[in-house]
């Protein structure tokens, strides 16, 4: 197969028809990225513009491809966990969890109850941390700078909590096969409580800055609309799907860890636009706080945080698929074993990749500035798109 020439992108999707009765125009092709302030990493967007109106968007991906799936074939099961950290590096904890659950399924083991509680809490903290990065950068994309600083202020507290558990602040490698890396250090719960209080004030701060701000609303209301049916057809998941009215959430529909034992709502919005996705994520942060609060008393129960697993893992020949509701959507891991110490195949189903594919549909007929808003609202992480 000949190499694709990225200098002249193939604009093969159907063009958007502009309203008739306009003057004859010339179109401009702008290559946005891979070095660009708001493509959230190394994404390149080929834009066909008519003045400020966007006719077509073609994402060019692969700049961050590291062959994680191929590398995984040459590593033992435990050694793959740190590689999953680097997939969606904004929510490493959840990447760990997805992979570890697949291997646990393959081995037929389960983490002890205390580890499951801690995993759930860490997962929800990670969801909030991830949504905070999203909220901050989304505001930044629209020119609202202050919210960005506020979000990172509270995210810092979460990272401190993570650091106390595993020593790392971004790539945690904290969730291990059959448990978690270590039990909670002394005083961790007090830190968590202090954080929960700070976060509630923080959420009021962000909402005070953004939600009611007329300029902010004008920028995202009715922008990048995608219907629930379209969203499902494109394979969208997570807040990007729930922003269109769907209530699909693996935490409810296929509960894992402790999600079956806590009470929470699945946040949805009906509008399907950037505002809908914004509302869903804000609501999800509130829900996550409530989940953590419900699980707090269970941290008092003592217990093991790691089941006994052999030093060299050799799962029986077979295959297993595990999926979790990562902050960006369904993160699925498919592992095939032939009974040896290395997996035959590891396949990651990343939510950002599917979510990004709908970009052109959402951008139809929008303005250049809206592309940035829409891209921000679907919240992609390139480490996960390219893998």
């Amino acid at each position: 197969m000949p190499l694709r020439d990225f200098r002249i992108p193939e604009f093969d999707a159907p063009e958007v028809q502009l309203p008739t009765g306009e003057l004859a125009h010339e179109t401009t092709i702008v290559s946005m990225g891979p070095q660009h302030p708001s493509t959230h990493g190394v994404l390149r967007l080929m834009l066909k513009l008519d003045g400020e109106s966007v006719l077509q968007v073609v994402p060019v991906i692969g700049y961050l491809h590291r062959g994680t799936e191929k590398i995984a074939e040459k590593r033992s099961y435990a050694m793959i966990v740190p590689y999953t950290d680097r997939l969606d590096y904004i929510s490493s904890m959840y990447m760990n969890l997805g992979y570890v659950r697949a291997v646990e399924g393959l081995l037929g083991i389960e983490a002890p109850p205390r580890a499951r509680v801690i995993r759930t809490i860490l997962g929800e903290l990670q969801r909030i941390a991830s949504h905070l990065v999203w909220l901050g950068t989304f505001g930044l994309d629209l020119g609202a700078w202050t919210a960005f600083i506020y979000c990172f202020r509270e995210r810092e507290l979460i990272l401190d909590l993570f650091e106390q558990i595993c020593g790392a602040r971004l790539t945690y490698n904290a969730i291990r096969i059959g448990g978690i890396v270590a039990d909670l250090p002394a005083g961790w719960e007090d830190g968590l409580r202090a954080y929960l209080t700070a976060q509630e004030q923080g959420l009021r701060d962000y909402e005070g800055l953004l939600t009611g701000n007329p300029v902010f609303r004008a920028r995202i209301e009715g922008i990048g609309v995608i219907s629930a049916a379209d969203a499902l057809n494109w394979g969208l998941s997570g807040p990007s799907l729930r922003g269109s009215g769907s209530t699909f959430d693996l935490r409810k529909d296929d509960p894992y860890e402790c999600y079956g034992e806590v009470d929470f709502h699945v946040a949805t919005a009906d509008s399907g636009d950037c505002l809908g996705r914004y509302e869903v994520r804000i609501q999800e942060m509130h829900e996550s706080l409530s989940i953590i609060r419900q699980l707090l008393p269970r941290l008092q129960e003592p217990g093991e945080v790691q089941t006994k697993v052999p030093r060299v893992l050799k799962p029986p020949a077979g295959e297993f698929y595990a999926h979790v509701e990562a902050p960006r959507g369904i993160f699925g891991v498919y592992v095939v074993s032939d009974g040896s110490a290395n997996p035959v195949r590891v396949r990651f189903r990343s939510p950002s990749f599917a979510n990004l594919s709908a970009l052109n549909t959402m951008c139809a007929g929008m303005k250049l500035a809206d592309v940035v808003a829409i891209l921000g609202s679907i919240d992609i992480v390139l480490g996960e798109v390219d893998r």
């Binding site: 401009t28 702008v30 660009h36 302030p37 708001s38 003045g51 400020e52 505001g139 930044l140 994309d141 629209l142 020119g143 609202a144 700078w145 202050t146 600083i149 506020y150 202020r153 800055l209 953004l210 701000n213 300029v215 902010f216 004008a218 920028r219 303005k367 250049l368 500035a369 809206d370 592309v371 940035v372």
Partner: protein
């Protein structure tokens, strides 16, 4: 001879002070923004970080001043000079305190409006000469934005002109001895402040250089001293608009106890701080929203203000006859 010396001193002062304020602003804005955003800002160089200005200037002067080979060289070099000249020369018509003015022209306001139109050229030529798509898009936005906002920027000032009966900034300030024009001309005040924000291309009107869309907009290709000129030009522009708001609406030098010049300076700094607060609070508008806001809301508003002011002034004069 003494009179000549005095004039020379004033001219030097009017040239130097805006520059000083503008370069001080490069530090002051960051510190103030940091204050609004719950962080520290530059606080390492010198007491409170004030010497950051010197460090920044030194750094930017040492940078390679690169002209892209695909750029239209003469225009590319000329563009940053225009913005500095146009904004600085507007300071000439300002009256800072009784007797302290370079040239209190009887058409001072018109001179300012003409000069701010000149500044548009700088942005347009910079974007065009850069031969870069982002720069071109940025300057396209700048033309649309600045030309349309100038229309009602001028109109919003006419209410003041009618009330003071003069285009001279000195006369206008003198007319505010008992009542600042921001009270009877509140609509004009608001409209002019918004238009001023748009003229200086500040958030929420910073579309020509919207970094999340256009990288750096019209000055994407600029570096070194030429970039510093745009950078400084923006701050000189802010200082100019703030000084004008002070002179036209906030009573200029009038104020108790303190000397007139200090009052003028203080009021100007407060207006600048307000501009910075706006930047901390608001996101950026989209281009079509910006145009809609300008033509459909601000223009009718300033026209209405002009009509009402004219009618009221005529009615009052009618009473006097």
């Amino acid at each position: 001879m003494l009179e000549l010396l005095r004039q020379a001193l004033i001219i030097i002062g009017v040239l130097a002070v805006p520059f000083l304020i503008a370069s001080g602003l490069t530090w002051g804005e960051r510190r103030l923004l940091a204050l609004f955003q719950d962080r520290y800002g530059p606080n390492r160089v010198g007491p409170g970080g004030v010497l950051q200005v010197a460090a920044d200037m030194f750094k930017i002067l040492m940078k390679e001043d690169w002209t892209p080979p695909f750029a239209d060289r003469p225009v590319f070099v000329l563009a940053p000079a225009i913005i500095i000249i146009a904004t600085l020369s507007s300071f000439a018509v300002l009256t800072f305190a009784p007797g302290i003015a370079v040239a209190d022209l009887n058409i001072g306001l018109l001179f300012f409006l003409a000069m701010s139109s000149m500044a548009v050229y700088s942005v347009v030529l910079a974007g065009w000469a850069s031969n870069n798509k982002y720069a071109l898009l940025g300057s396209l936005r700048a033309v649309g934005q600045m030309l349309s906002y100038e229309v009602f920027m001028g109109l919003s000032l006419m209410g003041v002109v009618i009330q003071a009966g003069s285009f001279s900034l000195g006369t206008i300030t003198r007319a505010q001895q008992h009542l600042w024009f921001c009270v009877p001309q509140v609509v004009g005040f608001v409209v002019f402040t918004i238009a001023g924000l748009a003229e200086t291309r500040r958030i929420p009107f910073d579309l020509p250089e919207a970094e999340s869309e256009l990288v750096a907009g019209y000055h994407t290709e600029y570096s070194g001293l030429k970039f510093a000129m745009f950078f400084l030009g923006e701050y000189v522009g802010i200082t100019l608009i703030a000084a004008l708001v002070t002179a036209l609406f906030l009573g200029g030098w009038w104020g108790p106890v303190l000397p007139p010049l200090v009052w003028f300076l203080l009021k100007t700094l407060v207006v600048i701080a307000f501009f910075i607060l706006v930047r901390a609070a608001l996101p950026r508008l989209r281009f079509d929203q910006l145009m809609e806001f300008g033509w459909k809301l601000m223009l009718p508003l300033s026209l209405l203000n002009l009509l009402v002011t004219g009618a009221v002034v005529l009615w009052q004069e009618g009473l006097r006859f």
